[in-house]
């Protein structure tokens, strides 16, 4: 594939901001529109943008496939672990065990914040992995 300087420059300048926007969507998911799934897909789209411009082998130096795969699988167990901690604290499965902050601030959601982060990382890693295999297959 022929390299285009314009696509290369724009994607390199744009990808960090897309990653930042994805992290914002994830961490403010319980206050404003967004959440784990949407933020995760936005994170993955930044990775896809880099793949389109620099090629998949360059991107895999930054995001190694083994680590992404490990993140994707371990996120599910982290989710279960957080649910079980609620059980150990004498409440139901996936019930909040953290103190609630003031309404309208980031800590006001209890442990939903952590659940959003885990879901976002899992979705982002999963979709990035799908696209890595699509780009590499020949």
């Amino acid at each position: 594939m022929k390299e285009s300087e314009i696509v290369d420059m724009i994607s390199r300048k744009l990808a960090p901001y897309i990653l930042l926007f994805g992290l914002y969507l994830i961490s403010f998911g319980h206050l404003s529109p967004g959440g784990g799934f949407q933020g995760g897909v936005v994170l993955a789209s930044a990775v896809i943008l880099l793949c389109l411009s620099k090629g998949v082998t360059q991107v895999q130096k930054l995001f190694p496939t083994e680590k992404i795969s490990l993140l994707e699988t371990s996120a599910f167990f982290l989710f279960l672990l957080i649910g079980i901690v609620g059980l150990l604290a004498g409440k139901f499965f996936l019930e909040n065990f953290l103190p609630l902050g003031e309404a309208g601030e980031v800590p006001s959601g209890g442990f939903i914040f952590f659940l959003n982060i885990i879901i976002g990382l899992k979705v982002g890693a999963g979709i990035s992995l799908i696209c890595f295999y699509f780009f590499r297959e020949k």
Binding site: P33, G34, Q38, V41, V42, S45, I48, C131, E137
Partner: protein
């Protein structure tokens, strides 16, 4: 505004079915998703609009284009045989 977007959605849907070239059809589907997310935003569902714009117009389009790149038209295969 809502009616205009709905009519455009119907036109784009029919176009994406009728196009012979698959790349044109995929581009039509991407515009379809973009208009869909605009419609969701107008109907006060920004949450769904973000998901539709990211998945429909971003990830799905890339996957479709990659798949088209890696396959061949039926006529080309028949010519080689």
């Amino acid at each position: 505004m809502t009616e205009t977007i709905l009519i455009l959605l119907i036109i784009l849907g029919i176009l994406s079915l009728e196009f012979k070239d698959l790349l044109n059809a995929v581009i039509c589907l991407a515009i379809f998703s973009l208009l869909c997310s605009l419609l969701f935003y107008y109907l006060h569902a920004p949450d769904v609009a973000i998901a539709e714009a990211a998945v429909g117009a971003g990830v799905a389009t890339v996957i479709f284009v990659l798949t088209i790149n890696k396959t061949r038209r039926k006529e080309e295969v028949e010519e080689e045989e």
